[in-house]
Point group: D2
């Protein structure tokens, strides 16, 4: 009875493209408040990085009519793995073809998940080389720890909404080998509210969560890592002092055990400052399933998440003019 071996072709979540209708204000938020570094500008896009990112860039900020996620890129472990994954995805009929890459990375295969989010995979990536004035005194730190702002170390994960979680989860499990870590299942397991997945020891690099408005291709949040819970507490002060409303936190999730803080960047996207949580190493990890009762408010210490957390995503039909289909999907509580 030969058990199938786990697919280990994906190395890690590579980078994310975020869309914003207010590029100047959004850039201010990411550089002055989060403390990220702008490394390149091209067309309507600015390329950003956290001080601890190994790659030259992990966040692409692109001017657009409406906020939301542009695309999500995964790095594979080898050139061979790139071919293998492209071939497999091609067979699903969701592939959209090869490109020569973008600033910071090489040849790339692009595709969509069943919900329509744009994804891509690539292997070749430029390692960041700091100019002399930005070199850290720590030889293993890609660039100097910034003396201003929140100081996010790196891009961590994102959560995307989709009309129907199941097919999207299965798609990335089968084609990217993402491992399932936790799930929220309501109605005796009939309704898949959300699924959290990863290609590394990190608890989750991506989550799919049911879209309460029954829309497709939307973004719930993008998350940036800081090293300590005190950094998250300090981040709350910095956001408040700069007129950025805090949506939720700082507090502790039950799912993932992580410490979170949610706010909105000026373009309208929800951004999380995030740390702690737990790593998963077991190759036979048993996904943790939460039902209605166990899930509670999604907050370990009991404070409820606000309604906006359940109802708002980008682009938002009310705010950004997306047409909202009628929907009888129950309210969900994404992480």
């Amino acid at each position: 009875m030969s058990q199938q071996e786990p697919l280990r072709d994906i190395a890690h979540l590579g980078h994310i493209e975020l869309l914003t209708p207010k590029p100047v204000e959004s850039l201010w938020y990411f550089t002055e408040l989060l403390g990220m570094e702008s490394v390149h500008q091209e067309g309507q896009s600015v390329y950003l990085r956290g001080f601890g990112d190994n790659a030259s860039t992990t966040l692409k900020l692109t001017e657009a009519e409406k906020p939301g996620v542009g695309h999500v890129a995964w790095r594979v472990i080898s050139p061979q793995a790139l071919e293998r994954r492209a071939e497999a995805i091609e067979k699903t009929g969701l592939g959209t073809g090869w490109t020569n890459g973008d600033f910071g990375h090489g040849r790339t295969y692009q595709f969509r998940d069943p919900d329509g989010h744009k994804l891509e995979i690539y292997y070749d990536e430029d390692r960041y080389e700091a100019p002399p004035e930005k070199r850290s005194t720590l030889k293993n730190l890609p660039m100097k720890y910034p003396g201003h702002g929140i100081g996010v170390r790196r891009t961590d994960h994102l959560a995307m909404l989709c009309e129907n979680v199941g097919p999207n989860r299965e798609f990335v499990q089968e084609n990217l080998g993402l491992q399932l870590r936790e799930q929220v299942l309501f109605q005796d397991g009939e309704f898949e509210v959300g699924s959290w997945m990863s290609s590394t020891a990190v608890h989750h690099e991506m989550a799919y969560v049911a879209d309460v408005k029954g829309l497709s291709g939307r973004l719930h949040h993008v998350s940036f890592w800081v090293d300590n819970r005190e950094d998250v507490l300090r981040a709350a002060d910095i956001l408040m002092e700069n007129g950025i409303e805090i949506e939720a936190g700082p507090s502790r999730h039950n799912n993932s055990q992580a410490f979170y803080l949610y706010s909105f960047e000026p373009g309208g996207n929800r951004i999380e400052v995030y740390t702690s949580g737990f790593l998963v190493f077991a190759p036979d990890w048993k996904p943790v399933i939460w039902n209605e009762e166990e899930r509670g408010t999604g907050v370990y210490w009991g404070a409820a998440l606000p309604d906006s957390f359940l109802n708002y995503a980008t682009p938002d039909p009310d705010t950004h003019g997306v047409e909202a289909p009628s929907s009888d999907v129950p309210r969900v509580d994404p992480l």
Copy 2:
């Protein structure tokens, strides 16, 4: 020019056996001070776990004449990977054969590294199931967070001394696929002082460091993870209040960027309480090399590590009666 693909058969460092001539006092240190849980006792061994360990046990504490490391076990990603690795190791001539496993894990292949440390690989492992009174209110936490002691979450890594680092590093790179993260190379790269390696995104799960006394099979330290730097600071108070001398820290390493605290458990082994540091995701990570000047004191913030840190390991010839060969190996500074 087909580049070889990375070997990804090892899932993670599985468990460690620690030897102690003072089993009662050592057990007190690990349960009352570190806050670990004793889950099983058999023969001269007690099996321990941190509250966040997925496996039923990750530390085996065995009574012995002298302190040191008993064996180090690695978990593979699949039954097939177990066969592959065993076969490859068999060919090196360092295999010592199969066993039916031990408490908490199944069929196991045993071998030695060139320096003589006992290693093993296995796949089948018992997941921890907490008895009702120890169940956490967090569904994804294997057991209740302990209300006493330091509260280490899990076994993290270890550092072993060896007469000659190079062959041992190459052995685990080639046969286990451990990835090289950082190295200390002195004398224009001629002398390999230490190498830090991992099979996961964790910075290092194992280090080999040159034995200043030219001995074989010795242990520098075993390290346990806590979630926050404040936990490390609190650990220092708990150790002091319980008459355990602190050897070094709390402070920050340059290598690994991690926050450390070293003390000696009553059996004589050096134990680290550890957190922070950085994760490595890049499949083409460029190992960071430190020379004499860059390495400095091994402490980012400048405080020097004490002489004992360089000269003492277990078993120690002076303290525990091991014969010390004459040695002209230069003094090294292991992490």
Copy 3:
């Protein structure tokens, strides 16, 4: 125009008596969860202390039919100050006379505030002398840092409800010399929702807050100090793992800037685990006044406090059978 000099006869908040209908469970909460030490038992009372309290005891836990505050004791700076304060209070007609003291302190003058809470002043106090097994390795720490529970360092402050804040505030300002630090004034300053006062550099040792139910003599909460915000976060985990519901926090107050966590001890009293905030040194400190709009939710980072925080105090008429008078007092938001 000779300005009146500030009254500086009170040294600090001395100790608090807390009433509980569940003495065994309450004692468990204070010793096992908060990590306080029981130093004496007499009649229906247990005398407790935090590891950093200079006095032998600062919390008296007394069995009673209903929860609430028994009495609040202030230490004066000298025997002469004791006579001066007693004489002044005697003149207000609210004095109830001298006693020979209680466990841990000497001759005491007792009185009531206008709202009926029992207060007392004293000078002679027993310094704590730890038995050998509880001596700290820090010579300036009264007893060993506890290795279990939350580890509150000392009793910090309390908030009491009263039908009418103004007269009570004026009473302690005039007779005890408490300095006013912050106030919440609604309705263009007509309605004094709450006033925070202190005799030391500590932000507040006592607050008077308007009782939304129009009752007298009730307690809003008693607060215990921990040294770090991480201790508060850790406290939240310990409470959750022990089945104690968290009412609010961990989060940051706007008033006082302090970091808080509220839960209910089994007897029904609201208990705060508390740290940070700011010290006040200026002899001409200008009290900070918050109106309806500025006060917001009372939480700096935006999360609202739950209804219970506004409506529940001890004893509670619904829960503990106190008769509730009709009241048209507006809802208030005490700290």
Copy 4:
């Protein structure tokens, strides 16, 4: 037997003047690294403040030939107290007379301690009023929390060296009413190594420590408060990344229990970033005395302070050309 009442005329340590031969570089250190605010410039001086200081300024940085302390100012509790203290000091013969004050404070009485350090007392002080762009969203915070640098909240304390500690300690006890908190006494109490004193609940606002070089009027360090130990750890990174050598810490003192980090500002003065420690409320506090053995290294967790900590102060005879008298004073270990 009428016991004398404690003198409570001093409100708090008011401000400190620091001398620097490198005014530009020193200003960079205090504003860019510590995150202090420059509020005024006059003559050769810049006036600085921490974001939480109630006064308009608490640090005066003055260009001078050599580094060191210019003067130390104490605020009294009332105009009457100013007269009382001036009168008492006048009688000691160490008074130097009245001035009309300086930027930020009014009429001032100046004097010297027996060792020759310049001290002064005053009552009238300007409260800081932030310009609109620097107003905090916290109504009780004098100015916006700075988004850059270490972010020290306020000036905390200083330690001054003197040829002979005893007479200086007695002078400020008798004339300012400073309360003695801790002492290091060597040689069976014959040699007063250092004394730590305060006028508030803060552990110490000023320390006198024996000058190992037998000089007069020198400064050991000035200390600035941050709110959390994590701020101190973060400060260490910021200092390192900006080429400022860390002399000692982050670690924990035994005396005061505080968490410290020492570095040198470019002008040569030793600066401490400081938090935690304990407050003292007892009017009959029993000073804690440490002898040679108990004092140990002055560090609770065991790491020794470097030689420079014992031997260097400002101005330094070797570095700054002060004539060093021959001295047989034993080596001391100041906090």
